[in-house]
Protein backbone atom coordinates (compact mmCIF):
# COMPACT_ATOMS: atom_id res chain seq x y z
CA UNK A 1 0.00 0.00 0.00
CA UNK A 2 2.05 2.93 1.25
CA UNK A 3 5.58 3.11 -0.19
CA UNK A 4 8.18 3.03 2.58
CA UNK A 5 9.97 6.20 1.61
CA UNK A 6 6.78 8.27 1.54
CA UNK A 7 5.96 10.53 4.49
CA UNK A 8 2.56 10.04 6.12
CA UNK A 9 1.27 13.50 5.25
CA UNK A 10 2.41 13.18 1.66
CA UNK A 11 0.73 9.81 1.28
CA UNK A 12 -2.52 10.98 2.86
CA UNK A 13 -2.70 13.97 0.57
CA UNK A 14 -2.02 12.00 -2.57
CA UNK A 15 -4.62 9.44 -1.46
CA UNK A 16 -7.24 12.16 -1.03
CA UNK A 17 -6.36 13.66 -4.40
CA UNK A 18 -6.60 10.33 -6.22
CA UNK A 19 -9.94 9.41 -4.75
CA UNK A 20 -11.50 12.84 -5.08
CA UNK A 21 -10.34 12.98 -8.69
CA UNK A 22 -12.74 10.13 -9.31
CA UNK A 23 -15.56 12.40 -8.20
CA UNK A 24 -14.75 15.16 -10.67
CA UNK A 25 -15.84 15.95 -14.21
CA UNK A 26 -17.75 12.95 -15.46
CA UNK A 27 -16.87 12.20 -19.07
CA UNK A 28 -19.58 11.96 -21.74
CA UNK A 29 -19.25 8.16 -21.70
CA UNK A 30 -20.34 8.23 -18.05
CA UNK A 31 -23.50 10.13 -18.85
CA UNK A 32 -24.15 7.79 -21.75
CA UNK A 33 -23.89 4.80 -19.40
CA UNK A 34 -26.24 6.46 -16.90
CA UNK A 35 -28.66 7.21 -19.70
CA UNK A 36 -28.67 3.62 -20.95
CA UNK A 37 -29.30 2.31 -17.42
CA UNK A 38 -32.00 4.90 -16.80
CA UNK A 39 -33.60 3.86 -20.09
CA UNK A 40 -33.81 0.23 -18.98
CA UNK A 41 -35.13 1.36 -15.61
CA UNK A 42 -37.83 3.43 -17.30
CA UNK A 43 -38.86 0.52 -19.53
CA UNK A 44 -39.11 -1.71 -16.46
CA UNK A 45 -41.24 0.80 -14.59
CA UNK A 46 -43.50 1.35 -17.59
CA UNK A 47 -43.97 -2.40 -17.86
CA UNK A 48 -44.91 -2.55 -14.20
CA UNK A 49 -47.56 0.11 -14.80
CA UNK A 50 -48.81 -1.89 -17.78
CA UNK A 51 -49.02 -4.98 -15.59
CA UNK A 52 -50.98 -3.11 -12.93
CA UNK A 53 -53.42 -1.75 -15.52
CA UNK A 54 -53.91 -5.04 -17.37
CA UNK A 55 -53.64 -7.41 -14.44
CA UNK A 56 -51.26 -10.22 -13.50
CA UNK A 57 -52.38 -12.21 -16.54
CA UNK A 58 -49.76 -10.44 -18.64
CA UNK A 59 -47.04 -12.29 -16.71
CA UNK A 60 -46.31 -15.95 -17.32
CA UNK A 61 -47.01 -17.02 -13.74
CA UNK A 62 -50.17 -19.06 -13.33
CA UNK A 63 -51.18 -22.38 -11.79
CA UNK A 64 -49.28 -24.44 -10.87
CA UNK A 65 -46.19 -22.19 -11.10
CA UNK A 66 -47.30 -19.13 -9.16
CA UNK A 67 -43.80 -18.03 -8.26
CA UNK A 68 -41.66 -17.31 -11.27
CA UNK A 69 -39.17 -14.73 -12.39
CA UNK A 70 -40.31 -12.08 -9.90
CA UNK A 71 -39.55 -14.20 -6.87
CA UNK A 72 -36.33 -15.41 -8.54
CA UNK A 73 -35.30 -11.78 -8.93
CA UNK A 74 -36.23 -11.02 -5.33
CA UNK A 75 -34.04 -13.82 -3.98
CA UNK A 76 -31.26 -12.93 -6.43
CA UNK A 77 -31.11 -9.28 -5.37
CA UNK A 78 -31.34 -9.98 -1.66
CA UNK A 79 -28.48 -12.42 -2.19
CA UNK A 80 -26.39 -9.82 -4.01
CA UNK A 81 -26.77 -7.54 -1.01
CA UNK A 82 -25.31 -10.08 1.38
CA UNK A 83 -21.70 -10.02 0.44
CA UNK A 84 -21.64 -6.26 0.95
CA UNK A 85 -22.40 -6.87 4.59
CA UNK A 86 -19.98 -9.76 4.73
CA UNK A 87 -17.16 -7.56 3.48
CA UNK A 88 -18.01 -4.55 5.60
CA UNK A 89 -19.11 -6.18 8.85
CA UNK A 90 -17.84 -9.76 9.11
CA UNK A 91 -14.39 -9.04 7.71
CA UNK A 92 -14.25 -5.96 9.95
CA UNK A 93 -14.82 -8.10 13.02
CA UNK A 94 -12.17 -10.54 11.80
CA UNK A 95 -9.76 -7.60 11.24
CA UNK A 96 -9.21 -8.63 7.63
CA UNK A 97 -7.45 -5.56 6.34
CA UNK A 98 -8.03 -6.22 2.66
CA UNK A 99 -11.66 -5.22 3.13
CA UNK A 100 -10.70 -1.53 3.32
CA UNK A 101 -10.55 -1.07 -0.42
CA UNK A 102 -13.83 -2.86 -1.09
CA UNK A 103 -16.09 -1.94 1.78
CA UNK A 104 -17.46 1.39 0.55
CA UNK A 105 -18.55 0.10 -2.84
CA UNK A 106 -19.72 -3.19 -1.34
CA UNK A 107 -21.93 -1.34 1.16
CA UNK A 108 -23.31 0.87 -1.59
CA UNK A 109 -24.06 -2.29 -3.53
CA UNK A 110 -25.87 -3.72 -0.50
CA UNK A 111 -28.11 -0.70 -0.10
CA UNK A 112 -28.98 -0.52 -3.80
CA UNK A 113 -29.53 -4.26 -4.08
CA UNK A 114 -31.92 -4.31 -1.11
CA UNK A 115 -33.81 -1.40 -2.64
CA UNK A 116 -34.12 -3.33 -5.89
CA UNK A 117 -35.09 -6.53 -4.11
CA UNK A 118 -37.72 -4.73 -2.06
CA UNK A 119 -39.60 -3.80 -5.22
CA UNK A 120 -40.19 -7.40 -6.29
CA UNK A 121 -42.66 -8.52 -3.65
CA UNK A 122 -44.64 -5.39 -4.56
CA UNK A 123 -44.47 -6.17 -8.28
CA UNK A 124 -45.49 -9.73 -7.53
CA UNK A 125 -48.46 -8.64 -5.41
CA UNK A 126 -50.54 -7.62 -8.41
CA UNK A 127 -52.45 -5.04 -6.41
CA UNK A 128 -49.22 -3.32 -5.47
CA UNK A 129 -50.95 -0.35 -3.91
CA UNK A 130 -52.15 -2.52 -1.02
CA UNK A 131 -48.62 -3.43 0.04
CA UNK A 132 -49.06 -1.74 3.40
CA UNK A 133 -51.38 -4.57 4.43
CA UNK A 134 -48.19 -6.48 5.15
CA UNK A 135 -47.37 -4.25 8.11
CA UNK A 136 -49.01 -4.67 11.51
CA UNK A 137 -50.88 -1.41 11.96
CA UNK A 138 -54.10 -0.72 13.87
CA UNK A 139 -56.95 -0.72 11.39
CA UNK A 140 -60.70 -0.44 11.24
CA UNK A 141 -61.22 -4.16 10.76
CA UNK A 142 -59.14 -4.86 13.89
CA UNK A 143 -57.10 -7.38 11.93
CA UNK A 144 -53.41 -8.04 12.50
CA UNK A 145 -50.88 -9.75 10.29
CA UNK A 146 -50.13 -13.45 10.70
CA UNK A 147 -46.81 -13.58 12.51
CA UNK A 148 -46.57 -17.30 11.82
CA UNK A 149 -46.19 -16.63 8.12
CA UNK A 150 -42.68 -16.57 6.62
CA UNK A 151 -43.83 -13.77 4.34
CA UNK A 152 -44.36 -11.52 7.35
CA UNK A 153 -40.93 -12.51 8.68
CA UNK A 154 -39.62 -11.36 5.32
CA UNK A 155 -41.14 -7.93 5.80
CA UNK A 156 -39.36 -7.56 9.13
CA UNK A 157 -36.08 -9.07 7.97
CA UNK A 158 -35.74 -7.10 4.75
CA UNK A 159 -36.81 -3.76 6.20
CA UNK A 160 -34.44 -4.19 9.16
CA UNK A 161 -31.68 -5.17 6.77
CA UNK A 162 -32.20 -2.10 4.63
CA UNK A 163 -32.27 0.25 7.63
CA UNK A 164 -29.18 -1.17 9.32
CA UNK A 165 -27.18 -1.36 6.06
CA UNK A 166 -28.02 2.23 5.22
CA UNK A 167 -27.01 3.44 8.71
CA UNK A 168 -23.79 1.42 8.58
CA UNK A 169 -22.92 2.84 5.17
CA UNK A 170 -23.64 6.40 6.21
CA UNK A 171 -21.85 6.30 9.57
CA UNK A 172 -18.67 5.02 7.94
CA UNK A 173 -18.90 7.70 5.28
CA UNK A 174 -19.26 10.81 7.48
CA UNK A 175 -15.50 11.34 8.06
CA UNK A 176 -14.87 10.88 4.34
CA UNK A 177 -17.65 13.29 3.45
CA UNK A 178 -15.85 15.83 5.63
CA UNK A 179 -12.78 15.35 3.42
CA UNK A 180 -14.84 15.89 0.28
CA UNK A 181 -16.27 19.02 1.91
CA UNK A 182 -12.76 20.41 2.34
CA UNK A 183 -11.98 20.19 -1.36
CA UNK A 184 -15.40 21.19 -2.69
CA UNK A 185 -16.63 24.69 -3.40
CA UNK A 186 -19.93 26.47 -4.03
CA UNK A 187 -23.15 24.53 -3.79
CA UNK A 188 -21.24 21.23 -3.56
CA UNK A 189 -19.53 22.49 -0.42
CA UNK A 190 -22.90 23.31 1.11
CA UNK A 191 -24.27 19.87 0.33
CA UNK A 192 -21.24 17.99 1.66
CA UNK A 193 -21.15 20.21 4.75
CA UNK A 194 -24.69 19.20 5.55
CA UNK A 195 -24.05 15.53 4.77
CA UNK A 196 -20.94 15.46 6.97
CA UNK A 197 -22.95 16.91 9.88
CA UNK A 198 -20.22 19.33 10.96
CA UNK A 199 -17.60 16.64 11.55
CA UNK A 200 -14.32 17.96 13.03
CA UNK A 201 -12.37 14.79 13.82
CA UNK A 202 -12.14 15.50 17.55
CA UNK A 203 -11.25 12.80 20.03
CA UNK A 204 -14.82 12.64 21.29
CA UNK A 205 -16.24 12.09 17.83
CA UNK A 206 -13.74 9.39 16.93
CA UNK A 207 -14.25 7.63 20.25
CA UNK A 208 -18.01 7.30 19.83
CA UNK A 209 -17.59 6.63 16.13
CA UNK A 210 -15.30 3.63 16.68
CA UNK A 211 -17.64 2.17 19.26
CA UNK A 212 -20.74 2.62 17.13
CA UNK A 213 -19.02 1.15 14.09
CA UNK A 214 -18.09 -1.94 16.03
CA UNK A 215 -21.59 -2.40 17.42
CA UNK A 216 -23.17 -1.96 14.02
CA UNK A 217 -20.78 -4.56 12.61
CA UNK A 218 -21.71 -6.88 15.45
CA UNK A 219 -25.40 -6.38 14.71
CA UNK A 220 -25.03 -6.72 10.96
CA UNK A 221 -23.28 -10.07 11.18
CA UNK A 222 -26.12 -12.13 12.69
CA UNK A 223 -28.56 -9.99 10.72
CA UNK A 224 -27.12 -10.96 7.37
CA UNK A 225 -27.39 -14.63 8.28
CA UNK A 226 -30.95 -14.23 9.52
CA UNK A 227 -32.14 -12.35 6.44
CA UNK A 228 -31.29 -14.99 3.91
CA UNK A 229 -32.38 -17.73 6.29
CA UNK A 230 -35.79 -16.07 6.44
CA UNK A 231 -35.83 -15.79 2.65
CA UNK A 232 -35.05 -19.49 2.41
CA UNK A 233 -37.84 -20.30 4.88
CA UNK A 234 -40.30 -18.72 2.47
CA UNK A 235 -39.70 -21.97 0.64
CA UNK A 236 -38.63 -24.43 3.31
CA UNK A 237 -41.73 -23.85 5.49
CA UNK A 238 -43.93 -25.31 2.77
CA UNK A 239 -44.27 -29.02 2.01
CA UNK A 240 -43.35 -28.77 -1.67
CA UNK A 241 -40.74 -31.37 -2.68
CA UNK A 242 -37.41 -29.68 -3.38
CA UNK A 243 -38.22 -26.88 -0.95
CA UNK A 244 -39.07 -28.66 2.27
CA UNK A 245 -35.61 -29.31 3.64
CA UNK A 246 -33.63 -28.19 6.66
CA UNK A 247 -30.47 -27.45 4.69
CA UNK A 248 -32.13 -24.48 3.02
CA UNK A 249 -31.01 -21.73 5.40
CA UNK A 250 -27.24 -22.35 5.33
CA UNK A 251 -27.48 -23.29 1.66
CA UNK A 252 -29.10 -19.96 0.80
CA UNK A 253 -26.75 -17.91 2.98
CA UNK A 254 -23.68 -19.44 1.32
CA UNK A 255 -25.23 -18.93 -2.11
CA UNK A 256 -26.02 -15.32 -1.28
CA UNK A 257 -22.47 -14.54 -0.25
CA UNK A 258 -21.17 -16.37 -3.31
CA UNK A 259 -23.31 -14.37 -5.73
CA UNK A 260 -22.66 -11.11 -3.90
CA UNK A 261 -18.90 -11.58 -4.01
CA UNK A 262 -19.17 -12.11 -7.74
CA UNK A 263 -21.18 -8.91 -8.04
CA UNK A 264 -18.53 -7.02 -6.05
CA UNK A 265 -15.98 -8.13 -8.64
CA UNK A 266 -18.30 -7.19 -11.51
CA UNK A 267 -18.66 -3.68 -10.09
CA UNK A 268 -15.23 -2.99 -8.64
CA UNK A 269 -13.04 -4.14 -11.55
CA UNK A 270 -14.43 -1.65 -14.10
CA UNK A 271 -14.54 1.02 -11.38
CA UNK A 272 -10.86 0.48 -10.61
CA UNK A 273 -9.89 0.61 -14.28
CA UNK A 274 -11.95 3.71 -15.08
CA UNK A 275 -10.84 5.73 -12.04
CA UNK A 276 -7.24 4.43 -12.18
CA UNK A 277 -7.28 3.19 -8.60
CA UNK A 278 -4.80 0.35 -9.25
CA UNK A 279 -2.48 1.91 -6.70
CA UNK A 280 -4.99 1.19 -3.93
CA UNK A 281 -6.96 -1.82 -5.14
CA UNK A 282 -4.10 -4.14 -5.95
CA UNK A 283 -3.89 -7.64 -7.38
CA UNK A 284 -3.34 -8.93 -3.84
CA UNK A 285 -6.74 -7.60 -2.84
CA UNK A 286 -8.39 -9.34 -5.77
CA UNK A 287 -6.53 -12.50 -4.95
CA UNK A 288 -8.11 -12.49 -1.49
CA UNK A 289 -11.61 -11.77 -2.76
CA UNK A 290 -11.16 -14.58 -5.29
CA UNK A 291 -10.41 -16.91 -2.40
CA UNK A 292 -13.68 -15.90 -0.73
CA UNK A 293 -15.42 -16.63 -4.02
CA UNK A 294 -13.77 -20.03 -4.32
CA UNK A 295 -14.56 -20.90 -0.71
CA UNK A 296 -18.25 -20.05 -1.00
CA UNK A 297 -18.44 -21.82 -4.36
CA UNK A 298 -17.25 -25.01 -2.73
CA UNK A 299 -19.86 -24.65 0.05
CA UNK A 300 -22.58 -24.15 -2.55
CA UNK A 301 -21.42 -27.21 -4.48
CA UNK A 302 -21.47 -29.22 -1.28
CA UNK A 303 -25.05 -28.08 -0.68
CA UNK A 304 -26.06 -29.25 -4.15
CA UNK A 305 -24.65 -32.66 -3.35
CA UNK A 306 -26.30 -32.81 0.07
CA UNK A 307 -29.65 -31.86 -1.45
CA UNK A 308 -29.51 -34.81 -3.80
CA UNK A 309 -28.18 -37.13 -1.12
CA UNK A 310 -31.01 -36.18 1.24
CA UNK A 311 -33.56 -36.80 -1.48
CA UNK A 312 -32.30 -40.27 -2.35
CA UNK A 313 -31.37 -41.30 1.16
CA UNK A 314 -34.57 -39.97 2.71
CA UNK A 315 -36.82 -42.56 1.09
CA UNK A 316 -39.39 -39.97 0.15
CA UNK A 317 -40.84 -40.87 -3.27
CA UNK A 318 -41.80 -37.34 -4.22
CA UNK A 319 -38.44 -35.91 -3.23
CA UNK A 320 -36.68 -38.55 -5.30
CA UNK A 321 -38.88 -37.90 -8.29
CA UNK A 322 -38.40 -34.19 -7.95
CA UNK A 323 -34.61 -34.29 -7.97
CA UNK A 324 -34.60 -36.61 -10.96
CA UNK A 325 -36.86 -34.10 -12.66
CA UNK A 326 -34.45 -31.31 -11.82
CA UNK A 327 -31.54 -33.11 -13.44
CA UNK A 328 -33.25 -34.61 -16.50
CA UNK A 329 -36.64 -32.85 -16.73
CA UNK A 330 -37.94 -29.79 -18.54
CA UNK A 331 -35.45 -27.40 -16.93
CA UNK A 332 -32.40 -29.66 -17.28
CA UNK A 333 -30.43 -27.26 -19.49
CA UNK A 334 -30.74 -24.52 -16.93
CA UNK A 335 -29.76 -26.91 -14.17
CA UNK A 336 -26.58 -28.09 -15.92
CA UNK A 337 -25.69 -24.56 -16.90
CA UNK A 338 -26.07 -23.58 -13.25
CA UNK A 339 -23.73 -26.39 -12.19
CA UNK A 340 -21.20 -25.32 -14.79
CA UNK A 341 -21.25 -21.67 -13.68
CA UNK A 342 -21.39 -22.18 -9.92
CA UNK A 343 -19.52 -25.39 -9.25
CA UNK A 344 -17.19 -26.17 -12.12
CA UNK A 345 -15.91 -22.85 -13.41
CA UNK A 346 -14.95 -21.35 -9.99
CA UNK A 347 -12.73 -24.39 -9.34
CA UNK A 348 -10.24 -22.81 -11.73
CA UNK A 349 -9.55 -20.32 -8.94
CA UNK A 350 -7.41 -22.95 -7.29
CA UNK A 351 -4.81 -21.82 -9.81
CA UNK A 352 -2.98 -18.82 -8.41
CA UNK A 353 -2.27 -17.34 -11.81
CA UNK A 354 -5.96 -17.16 -12.65
CA UNK A 355 -6.83 -15.67 -9.26
CA UNK A 356 -4.42 -12.85 -10.03
CA UNK A 357 -5.70 -12.26 -13.56
CA UNK A 358 -8.13 -9.34 -13.30
CA UNK A 359 -9.74 -9.85 -16.70
CA UNK A 360 -10.34 -13.53 -15.96
CA UNK A 361 -11.92 -12.67 -12.61
CA UNK A 362 -14.23 -10.19 -14.29
CA UNK A 363 -15.44 -12.72 -16.86
CA UNK A 364 -15.80 -15.41 -14.22
CA UNK A 365 -17.86 -13.07 -12.03
CA UNK A 366 -20.32 -12.58 -14.89
CA UNK A 367 -20.72 -16.35 -15.23
CA UNK A 368 -21.31 -16.68 -11.49
CA UNK A 369 -23.96 -13.97 -11.59
CA UNK A 370 -25.77 -15.84 -14.34
CA UNK A 371 -25.31 -19.15 -12.55
CA UNK A 372 -26.72 -17.89 -9.27
CA UNK A 373 -29.74 -16.36 -10.99
CA UNK A 374 -30.34 -19.72 -12.66
CA UNK A 375 -29.99 -21.51 -9.31
CA UNK A 376 -32.86 -19.55 -7.83
CA UNK A 377 -34.94 -20.03 -10.97
CA UNK A 378 -34.35 -23.78 -10.97
CA UNK A 379 -35.16 -24.15 -7.26
CA UNK A 380 -38.30 -22.06 -7.41
CA UNK A 381 -39.80 -23.05 -10.75
CA UNK A 382 -38.94 -26.71 -11.07
CA UNK A 383 -40.34 -27.46 -7.60
CA UNK A 384 -43.68 -25.89 -8.42
CA UNK A 385 -43.85 -27.29 -11.94
CA UNK A 386 -44.02 -30.87 -10.72
CA UNK A 387 -45.27 -31.43 -7.21
CA UNK A 388 -47.48 -34.25 -5.91
CA UNK A 389 -50.46 -34.62 -8.21
CA UNK A 390 -49.78 -35.32 -11.91
CA UNK A 391 -53.02 -33.54 -12.76
CA UNK A 392 -51.42 -30.43 -11.28
CA UNK A 393 -48.22 -30.45 -13.31
CA UNK A 394 -47.22 -27.75 -15.75
CA UNK A 395 -44.36 -25.93 -17.39
CA UNK A 396 -43.66 -22.26 -16.85
CA UNK A 397 -42.08 -19.96 -19.40
CA UNK A 398 -41.61 -16.27 -18.58
CA UNK A 399 -43.44 -13.73 -20.74
CA UNK A 400 -42.05 -10.43 -21.96
CA UNK A 401 -43.24 -8.24 -19.03
CA UNK A 402 -41.23 -10.41 -16.65
CA UNK A 403 -38.14 -10.08 -18.84
CA UNK A 404 -38.63 -6.33 -19.20
CA UNK A 405 -39.05 -5.80 -15.46
CA UNK A 406 -35.97 -7.93 -14.74
CA UNK A 407 -33.88 -5.87 -17.17
CA UNK A 408 -35.38 -2.76 -15.60
CA UNK A 409 -34.15 -3.83 -12.18
CA UNK A 410 -30.63 -4.29 -13.52
CA UNK A 411 -30.90 -0.83 -15.05
CA UNK A 412 -32.00 0.62 -11.72
CA UNK A 413 -29.20 -1.06 -9.79
CA UNK A 414 -26.42 -0.04 -12.18
CA UNK A 415 -27.81 3.48 -12.51
CA UNK A 416 -27.67 3.97 -8.74
CA UNK A 417 -24.18 2.53 -8.59
CA UNK A 418 -22.92 4.79 -11.37
CA UNK A 419 -24.36 7.85 -9.67
CA UNK A 420 -22.77 6.73 -6.41
CA UNK A 421 -19.30 6.66 -7.97
CA UNK A 422 -19.61 10.31 -8.94
CA UNK A 423 -21.37 11.59 -5.83
CA UNK A 424 -19.61 9.88 -2.92
CA UNK A 425 -16.02 8.80 -2.19
CA UNK A 426 -15.63 5.29 -3.61
CA UNK A 427 -12.93 4.15 -1.20
CA UNK A 428 -12.96 4.43 2.58
CA UNK A 429 -10.31 7.15 2.77
CA UNK A 430 -9.91 7.36 6.55
CA UNK A 431 -9.64 3.60 6.90
CA UNK A 432 -6.93 3.40 4.27
CA UNK A 433 -5.05 6.19 6.05
CA UNK A 434 -5.35 4.38 9.35
CA UNK A 435 -4.05 1.17 7.84
CA UNK A 436 -1.18 2.93 6.08
CA UNK A 437 -0.03 4.54 9.33
CA UNK A 438 0.42 1.19 11.03
Amino acid sequence: MKPKEMKELEYNQSLERDILDALRNPRPIFWLAVLVCAGFFAIGMATWVYQMLKGMGVAGINNPVGWGVYITDFVFWVGIAHSGTLISAVLFLFRAKFRNVFNRSAEAMTVFAVMTAGLYPLIHLGRSWLFYWLFPYPNQRQLWVNFQSPLVWDVFAVSTYFTISAIFWYVGMVPDLAIVRRYASGIRKRIYSILSLGWTGSLRQWKHYSRLYMFLAAFATPLVISVHSVVSWDFAMSIVPGWHTTIFAPYFVAGAIFSGTAMVLTLVIPMMKIFRLEKYITVDHFDKIAKVLLFTSVIVTYSYIVEFALAFYGGHKFEEAHFLYRAIGDYRYLYWMMLFCNSLLPLTLFIRKLRRNILYLFILSLFVNVGMWLERFVIIVSSLAKDFDPYNWGVYVPKWPEVAITLGSFGMFFMFFLLFTKALPVLAITEIKEEAAE
Binding site: W144, P175, G198, T200, Y209, S210, R211
Partner: protein, 145 residues
Protein backbone atom coordinates in the same frame (compact mmCIF):
# COMPACT_ATOMS: atom_id res chain seq x y z
CA UNK B 1 3.73 28.60 26.18
CA UNK B 2 1.93 27.77 22.96
CA UNK B 3 -1.47 26.22 23.34
CA UNK B 4 -1.86 24.77 19.87
CA UNK B 5 0.42 22.19 18.30
CA UNK B 6 0.02 20.50 14.99
CA UNK B 7 1.92 17.60 13.48
CA UNK B 8 2.25 15.86 10.14
CA UNK B 9 2.88 12.42 11.57
CA UNK B 10 1.17 10.29 14.13
CA UNK B 11 4.19 9.23 16.19
CA UNK B 12 5.42 12.80 16.68
CA UNK B 13 1.95 13.79 17.76
CA UNK B 14 1.72 10.92 20.23
CA UNK B 15 5.14 11.78 21.59
CA UNK B 16 4.15 15.39 22.25
CA UNK B 17 0.86 14.33 23.76
CA UNK B 18 2.61 12.03 26.19
CA UNK B 19 5.04 14.78 27.08
CA UNK B 20 2.25 17.23 27.77
CA UNK B 21 0.38 14.79 30.00
CA UNK B 22 3.57 14.00 31.91
CA UNK B 23 4.35 17.69 32.35
CA UNK B 24 1.11 17.99 34.29
CA UNK B 25 -1.39 19.43 31.83
CA UNK B 26 -4.79 18.19 32.92
CA UNK B 27 -6.14 15.70 30.38
CA UNK B 28 -9.50 17.42 30.59
CA UNK B 29 -8.04 20.57 29.05
CA UNK B 30 -6.53 18.79 26.07
CA UNK B 31 -8.52 18.69 22.86
CA UNK B 32 -7.17 16.67 19.96
CA UNK B 33 -8.15 16.45 16.31
CA UNK B 34 -6.92 13.64 14.09
CA UNK B 35 -7.52 12.56 10.48
CA UNK B 36 -8.40 9.00 11.62
CA UNK B 37 -9.12 7.34 14.98
CA UNK B 38 -5.94 7.12 17.08
CA UNK B 39 -6.55 4.64 19.87
CA UNK B 40 -3.15 5.22 21.47
CA UNK B 41 -4.21 8.81 22.18
CA UNK B 42 -7.27 7.54 24.03
CA UNK B 43 -4.98 5.50 26.27
CA UNK B 44 -2.64 8.40 26.93
CA UNK B 45 -5.52 10.70 27.82
CA UNK B 46 -7.22 7.93 29.80
CA UNK B 47 -10.64 8.64 28.29
CA UNK B 48 -13.61 6.73 29.59
CA UNK B 49 -15.11 4.12 27.25
CA UNK B 50 -17.83 5.45 24.98
CA UNK B 51 -21.35 5.49 26.39
CA UNK B 52 -22.75 4.37 23.05
CA UNK B 53 -22.84 0.88 24.50
CA UNK B 54 -25.57 1.93 26.94
CA UNK B 55 -27.77 3.05 24.10
CA UNK B 56 -27.04 -0.19 22.27
CA UNK B 57 -28.02 -2.30 25.24
CA UNK B 58 -31.19 -0.37 26.00
CA UNK B 59 -32.16 -0.29 22.32
CA UNK B 60 -31.62 -4.01 21.83
CA UNK B 61 -33.59 -4.95 24.96
CA UNK B 62 -36.42 -2.61 24.01
CA UNK B 63 -36.54 -4.18 20.55
CA UNK B 64 -36.61 -7.68 21.99
CA UNK B 65 -39.42 -6.92 24.42
CA UNK B 66 -41.37 -4.97 21.82
CA UNK B 67 -41.01 -7.85 19.36
CA UNK B 68 -42.53 -10.34 21.75
CA UNK B 69 -45.13 -7.87 22.96
CA UNK B 70 -46.26 -7.03 19.42
CA UNK B 71 -46.54 -10.63 18.25
CA UNK B 72 -48.15 -12.05 21.40
CA UNK B 73 -50.53 -9.19 21.97
CA UNK B 74 -51.79 -9.03 18.38
CA UNK B 75 -52.29 -12.81 18.34
CA UNK B 76 -54.33 -12.68 21.53
CA UNK B 77 -56.25 -9.64 20.33
CA UNK B 78 -57.92 -11.78 17.66
CA UNK B 79 -57.32 -15.37 18.78
CA UNK B 80 -57.61 -17.22 15.50
CA UNK B 81 -56.00 -20.66 15.13
CA UNK B 82 -53.67 -20.68 12.13
CA UNK B 83 -52.32 -23.91 10.68
CA UNK B 84 -53.28 -25.88 13.78
CA UNK B 85 -50.54 -24.22 15.79
CA UNK B 86 -50.92 -22.62 19.23
CA UNK B 87 -52.25 -19.05 19.25
CA UNK B 88 -49.05 -17.88 20.91
CA UNK B 89 -46.48 -19.65 18.74
CA UNK B 90 -43.21 -18.63 20.36
CA UNK B 91 -40.76 -20.21 17.85
CA UNK B 92 -42.28 -18.22 15.01
CA UNK B 93 -42.30 -15.06 17.09
CA UNK B 94 -38.61 -15.39 17.97
CA UNK B 95 -37.77 -14.44 14.38
CA UNK B 96 -39.72 -11.20 14.53
CA UNK B 97 -38.33 -10.42 17.99
CA UNK B 98 -34.79 -11.12 16.74
CA UNK B 99 -35.12 -8.74 13.80
CA UNK B 100 -36.62 -6.02 16.00
CA UNK B 101 -33.80 -6.46 18.54
CA UNK B 102 -31.31 -5.61 15.82
CA UNK B 103 -33.45 -2.86 14.29
CA UNK B 104 -34.02 -1.04 17.59
CA UNK B 105 -30.48 -1.71 18.81
CA UNK B 106 -28.95 -0.28 15.65
CA UNK B 107 -31.20 2.73 15.29
CA UNK B 108 -30.99 3.73 18.96
CA UNK B 109 -27.19 3.29 18.95
CA UNK B 110 -27.05 5.61 15.97
CA UNK B 111 -29.21 8.21 17.73
CA UNK B 112 -27.06 7.83 20.85
CA UNK B 113 -23.91 8.35 18.81
CA UNK B 114 -25.29 11.53 17.27
CA UNK B 115 -26.26 12.80 20.70
CA UNK B 116 -22.98 11.92 22.40
CA UNK B 117 -20.73 13.36 19.71
CA UNK B 118 -22.94 16.45 19.38
CA UNK B 119 -23.77 15.87 15.74
CA UNK B 120 -25.22 17.36 13.62
CA UNK B 121 -23.48 20.55 14.67
CA UNK B 122 -25.29 23.44 12.97
CA UNK B 123 -22.51 25.93 13.67
CA UNK B 124 -19.86 23.71 12.13
CA UNK B 125 -22.07 22.90 9.17
CA UNK B 126 -22.34 26.55 8.17
CA UNK B 127 -18.66 27.16 8.93
CA UNK B 128 -16.73 23.88 8.78
CA UNK B 129 -13.74 23.47 11.07
CA UNK B 130 -10.93 21.89 9.05
CA UNK B 131 -7.70 20.35 10.28
CA UNK B 132 -6.70 18.70 7.01
CA UNK B 133 -4.35 15.83 7.56
CA UNK B 134 -2.85 17.46 10.65
CA UNK B 135 -2.78 15.93 14.09
CA UNK B 136 -3.75 18.83 16.30
CA UNK B 137 -3.41 19.28 20.05
CA UNK B 138 -5.33 22.15 21.51
CA UNK B 139 -4.98 23.17 25.16
CA UNK B 140 -7.80 25.09 26.76
CA UNK B 141 -7.95 27.11 30.02
CA UNK B 142 -4.21 27.13 30.33
CA UNK B 143 -4.16 29.29 33.43
CA UNK B 144 -5.92 26.63 35.52
CA UNK B 145 -3.49 23.79 34.81
Amino acid sequence: MKNKFSFDEKHKFLHKLEELVKSGVSTENINIFTPYPVHEAEEILKVKPSAVRLFTLIGALTGLLFGFFLTIWTSLDWPLIRGGKPIVAIPAFIIVAFELTILFGGVISFIGYLFLSRLPNVEKISEPEEHGNQFVIHIENEGKK
